[in-house]
Amino acid sequence: MPWGEFKDTAAERRLFQRRVTVMLVVVFLLLSVLVARMYQLQIVEHDIYTTLSDKNRVQVQSVPPPRGLVYDRNQVLLAENRPVFSVTVVPERVGDTGAALEQLVSILDISDEDLERFQRRLREPRRPFQEIPLRYDLTEDEIARLAVHRHELPGVEVEAELVRYYPHSELTAHALGFVGRINRDELQRIDPVNYAGTNYIGKSGVERFYEALLHGKVGYQHVETNARGRTLRVLERENPVPGEDLKLHLDLRLQARAHELLDGRRGAIVAIEPATGGILALASVPGFDANQFVTGISVADYRELSESKDKPLFNRALRGQYPPGSTLKPMLAIAALDSGAVTRDHTIWDPGHFQINSAGRRWRDWKRGGHGWVDLTYAMAQSCDVYFYEAAIEMGVDTMVDYLARFGFGEDATLDVSGALSGILPSPDWKRGTRNEPWYPGDTVNLGIGQGFMLSTPLQLATATALIANRGEWVEPRLLKDIQGDRSADEFLPSETHEPLQLKNPSDWEFIADSMAEVMHGVRGTARAAGRGAPYRMAGKTGTAQVFSLAEDEEYDAEEVRERLRDHALFVGFAPVKNPQIAVAVIVENGGGGSSTAAPVARALFDAWILEFSAAAGSLISKTDSQSETP
């Protein structure tokens, strides 16, 4: 061992002590740096990091309010909310969305359509960290399978969501409308705060009109989440305010009856309670199942519905614009009487045709040989065209249009029926404006029997008929009867705008009502077959509207062409004649004659409402209402 060298141990010790002193200073300084750093983070910048930490762990989640329910007048549920389990994906949390989808496809039964829809939603504008549904209506089995793999799939969650469900959808689709996913346009329109947790919005009908009322107010909860975004606990919660439950005037029994009566045909029925304006039935046949539209209908199903020749998606009751034909005659009779164009006893000779001047065009009466001597009551009962041709010329177009407008033609007179069309009330101005043609006297003649340019919807016809039933008292048609709870329906219904139609001689109302009763009960009444044997008196008017043409490219077999070229059968009426409880408009497309096809339908509805359902409490109340309100 080379220990031979001289070692100055004391000097070495002193050297070491000096070096240790240096190191001690270094240690002290470096520890001070650490303390200073901690002081900076924990004391000086404490607030910043507290905010960061809270932002990390606390997330504000919106709690969507449960959508209000919809009942019919007898408290039968028409629209409810059903829990549906769906698998959702938050792309921001998933990372590799493609890989996650691949794995999900191997676990669950996900169709190409689901994937396609998912990709579409992925491209659409949306809120960050908003989950995108991938598949709805998971089965228990699928939920279990997904639970096993959940830890491998961050950002993939099973969510229970309340989804709109219409238990009687085939019957109510056209009357209620339906909800669907919020689309791009609606996203621009809605209040982003209140809809923060909502995925659905009313697309049509009551669901659309009363969207604000049904939706309710969003709630919030502060939740603590871990780094992978999983919610651990709720820290604070502000409950949502549920949407209001609505009660409609609609009577599901009558609605169902209307559908039964039109079964196998195409057509529409609108029934109104004259006293309240409440729409008792609003049927458009064929209907469809609106539930398919709620979560998103498949392309194939949608194509089938939209391309069907029967047009099930078309709401004939609100949007079907038909020539009213002879069903316009009661309103025209009022106009003729009140304007003085005719008197109750005014009689004409009907040779079977009408000419403005002897050399001119002949307008035919529906009855080849003519009706002979005809007064107003007879003209109504037999639907004599010539009488009304003459009355029309006597009144002139302006007078007719004035009166028809008072009946609600040419406008959407409803309070809360979303999507109702206004038809066409032709006038010289209208003709010049839309067709750039002058108004010919012949146009006036055509209007005299509800033909020509005039178009109206079944809802408009029912509205005008209800005005007669009310003897000129305007009660705008409406769907909303009541709001469950403290609030009144009047708060939310738009204000009524129509002035009552006051006749110079108010007894003319009774006269016309009686003449309409002649249609049903008179020996020559066109609908006497439908009116036979009733324990109450009813008023009505049949009509037939010509089908003009088919589009040239439509292909039908010969049988079907014949069927589709037949006239539309129409009927309007109310019952009983005194204190009417129901006013209806019926249209059966290509049904042939109004008296043979449409009138029996109306009779069945009258019977159902007045005789069959009257035992129900709801009808009794409405009966007393009508007694107190009608003169």
Binding site: E12, R19, V27, V33, R37, M38, L41, Q42
Partner: protein, 380 residues
């Protein structure tokens, strides 16, 4: 066996004298008390950092028992034993490091473990943390101090050789720690300030060269991330942002034990290993950090005192270097977790979960106790 320096004066500090039972066990009660205080409070933090997983705490407890046994064994050995074994241990260590390069096992693209048949798996690089300072101290203390330039050169080679081998694994963190341990020996031996200045200048030149030729991409990334954690907030910057958030949100007195949201909600990564100090800072606040750093400071003070009172140069150099290595652990770990230093895999000594470093550290404290207590027997 008897050291030459029998005449050194040690009676000047009665505090440094373990008596009776302590003397028989070759333990220093003050250091032992401080270590136990650190370890036991560390276990509470570990319980929280491991998200109330008692198994983790138990496993770490078992490691501490093993480490205590190792410390006890090392404390019984006379310092001269380490000195005599130094060259052989060094050669053995180098052989191990070479073997690791050819037949090592490991994960994440680094080979650090040696699995020899019949022996438990171990990291030769971990062993070198002790062997390199002992070897350097052995070499330098054979001659008078301060050493001549040529001896310093040899000393640096002794340090650099294992460093290079460890860098090849690659394990930059351990390599630097081993290097630091060796360099502290050279420093304590009395390397002149001029040379130190020249050496530091050399390092500052070498650093850019290292950057372009020596460092792997992930290592560069760590440095870049340190400079601007926000540049990659979900990737490499995540750890730093989350640990700073944990520390900062702890405030003056913390959120309370087991109440740290950053760690318990899994925002903080490595919350029971390298980043455990962030858990402590979050739950016990600035007060907790001050207490922790105070305990470390007291341990370092005691160890430096042991170094100063050691009886021969070899013991002094070894004790001083091991003490400073321990301090470097603390500084690098707390510095990296608080965002002052790049993220290198250095655990918080005696608190972080993990076996190897715990055993090495306790062995080092065993050596320190040996140095302190064996001196006593001779002078008494």
């Amino acid at each position: 066996m008897a050291p030459r320096e029998v005449f050194s004066s040690t009676a000047s500090n009665p505090l440094g004298r373990p008596k009776g039972l302590w003397s028989a066990l070759h333990l220093d009660p003050i250091l032992l008390f401080l270590l136990i205080a650190l370890i036991s409070s560390g276990l509470f933090v570990l319980y929280s950092g491991a998200d109330r997983n008692l198994d983790v705490v138990k496993a770490q407890g078992v490691r501490f028992v093993i480490a205590f046994v190792v410390m006890l064994v090392f404390a019984q050995l006379d310092p001269s034993v380490f000195r005599r074994w130094a060259p052989w241990l060094y050669i053995l260590g180098l052989a191990g490091l070479v073997a690791v390069l050819f037949m090592g096992v490991g994960a994440k693209g680094a080979q650090r473990w040696l699995a020899l048949p019949g022996l438990p798996r171990f990291q030769p690089s971990e062993l070198m943390k002790l062997v390199v300072p002992i070897m350097a101290a052995w070499y330098l203390s054979r001659h008078f101090l301060p050493p001549r330039l040529s001896r310093i050169g040899v000393g640096l080679v002794i340090v650099l050789l294992p460093m290079l081998l460890i860098v090849r694994q690659p394990d930059l963190g351990t390599s630097l720690l081993v290097g630091m341990a060796g360099l502290f020996v050279v420093f304590f031996a009395g390397m002149s300030w001029k040379l130190i200045g020249a050496f530091l200048a050399m390092v500052s030149v070498a650093a850019p060269v290292m950057w372009f030729f020596g460092m792997r991409d992930y290592q560069k990334q760590r440095v870049l991330t340190l400079l601007d954690p926000q540049s990659d907030p979900l990737g490499a910057g995540w750890n730093i942002i989350q640990s700073k958030t944990a520390i900062g949100s702890g405030g003056f007195d913390g959120k309370g034990w087991l109440q740290g949201t950053q760690s318990h909600l899994e925002f903080l990564p490595e919350s029971h290993t390298d980043f455990i100090v962030a858990v402590l800072a979050e739950e016990f606040g600035f007060v907790g950090i001050l207490l922790l750093l105070s305990v470390y400071f007291l341990i370092i003070l005691r160890c430096l005192f042991i170094s100063v009172t050691a009886q021969d140069s070899f013991s002094r150099l070894v004790a001083g270097a091991l003490t400073m290595t321990f301090f470097i652990y603390v500084f690098v770990n707390v510095g990296m977790v608080s965002g002052l230093l790049p993220v290198v895999g250095v655990p918080l000594p005696l608190v972080s979960y993990g076996g190897t470093s715990t055993v090495t550290l306790m062995a080092a404290f065993g050596i320190l106790m040996s140095i302190h207590t064996h001196r006593r027997m001779i002078s008494a």
